[in-house]
């Protein structure tokens, strides 16, 4: 429901992280319990970035299923249509959500150091792709 404001926050975080470099793709991981509608998010993104330095950047969402973990028997259960938070393995109501609440900007793809980069040049970006 608040996809517009979430997109604004993502755009602000991306802008801070990319220091003016041209952004190609933005990767965001979204948990199911964040109640984000992917299509609404995609639509909001197009007009939040329109006319900004991020205009044209793709937003790529990765959806994470909600999982509850039992505090008593540690059984993991994927939350399904039949929403209930009790542990189906032992019946305990002492459970906690162990996945599904993520909303993480994971990575951004920007143009390489040389904007006119051709495919053969990709291998020359020594160090640039190293994961931290």
């Amino acid at each position: 429901m608040h996809e517009v404001s979430l997109c604004r926050q993502v755009a602000a975080a991306v802008t801070r992280a990319t220091a003016g470099r041209h952004v190609q793709t933005v990767y965001v991981t979204v948990g199911e319990l964040r109640q984000v509608v992917p299509e609404a998010m995609a639509h909001a993104w197009t007009f939040v970035v329109r006319g900004t330095a991020l205009d044209g950047a793709r937003l790529e969402l990765h959806h994470v299923q909600a999982v509850v973990t039992c505090d008593d028997c540690q059984h993991n259960t994927r939350l399904g249509r039949q929403l209930g938070f009790d542990c189906p393995a032992c019946g305990s109501s002492r459970t906690h959500v162990s996945a599904g609440e993520e909303f993480v900007l994971t990575a951004v793809d920007v143009d390489g150091p040389d904007d006119d980069c051709t495919p053969e040049q990709e291998g020359t970006l020594d160090g640039a792709l190293s994961p931290s």
């Binding site: 990319t18 319990l33 996945a99 951004v108 970006l125």
Partner: protein, 282 residues
């Protein structure tokens, strides 16, 4: 924009699965990763799983550089919420985030609360209202400090209060002259549940006119609160409301929630609510 599509495991993407196009060396040290696989449930605590999740997208035809960020978009809100809470703690103020759907009777209940506490509990209210000061006007003249937050911001207004907004509203209140802060959130059963504003406890007002199924439809909201006020009980004779069904639906998503049945209009049952509010103030 790419097209969204859903995998069997529920993963949603908007990219093309050009797996064959990904096979080239990355002398920079970026290790090849299995293609077409996605971790089922990575968390922000597991950067490796997240890196794995996005592993499909390394290696492109043109000059491209991956910047790993791993920034929790809610972290900024949560940090500011913690700061709000610290400021409230320093002033000895207990804060309750009060949420509901529109028209559930939140403001009526709050008016009754202020009237009951006048002279005994010093109350401050942060009033979230999309465009109007109407709710704040209803609460005036009862000895409470009111800070109005109009959340209208061009595009239809915010659908919830967040920690930065509440931080701003707190500056308009004299916390040293308050015992209890009630944050009256925007009427909405979706977004407010997800934003910590610095409160100590959350409660929601639910009206029996809303139907018994609401806990199952809005589990994130119903699960987030410590107390559910079941309002408009005075209308029970005129409705087919099934309290047992509502309570079992609520128990399915939040077995710990305290249920307080009352009528904000007649005042019946309000004492239990006042007690819930007052308990931590002793």
């Amino acid at each position: 924009m790419g097209r969204f599509h859903r995998h069997d495991d529920g993963t949603v993407h908007s990219h093309d699965h050009d797996d064959e196009g990904h096979h080239h060396e990355h002398p920079s040290g970026d290790q090849p990763r299995p293609r077409g696989r996605h971790a089922a449930a990575p968390t922000e605590d597991d950067p490796q799983a997240l890196a794995e999740l996005i592993g499909d997208h390394t290696g492109y035809q043109t000059g491209r550089e991956r910047i790993e960020i791993l920034q929790d978009i809610y972290a900024e809100n949560d940090e500011l919420a913690a700061a709000n809470r610290a400021a409230l703690d320093a002033a000895g103020v207990h804060a309750v985030n009060l949420m509901s759907s529109p028209g559930s009777g939140k403001t009526t209940l709050l008016a009754r609360t202020l009237a009951a506490f006048e002279g005994s509990v010093r109350v401050a209210v942060i009033e979230g209202d999309i465009e109007t000061p109407l709710d704040a006007e209803r609460l005036g003249g009862m000895g409470a400090q009111i800070s109005l937050l109009n959340t209208g911001d061009g595009f239809g207004g915010e659908c919830h209060l967040d920690a930065p907004m509440v931080a701003k509203a707190l500056r308009g209140l004299d916390l040293d002259a308050a015992d209890l802060l009630v944050v009256e959130n925007v009427g909405n059963l979706v977004c407010p549940a997800e934003f910590d504003v610095g409160e100590h406890r959350k409660a929601m007002v639910y009206a029996i006119t809303e139907g018994e199924d609401k806990p199952l439809k809005y589990p994130v909201m119903f699960r987030s609160v410590g107390a559910v006020v079941v309002n408009k009980m005075d209308l029970a004779p005129y409705l087919d409301f099934d309290m047992d069904l509502f309570r079992s639906n609520l128990t399915a998503v939040n077995p710990q929630a305290q249920v307080i049945e009352l009528s904000a209009r007649t005042g019946e049952g309000v004492d239990a609510w006042l007690e819930w509010l007052r308990a931590p103030l002793a």
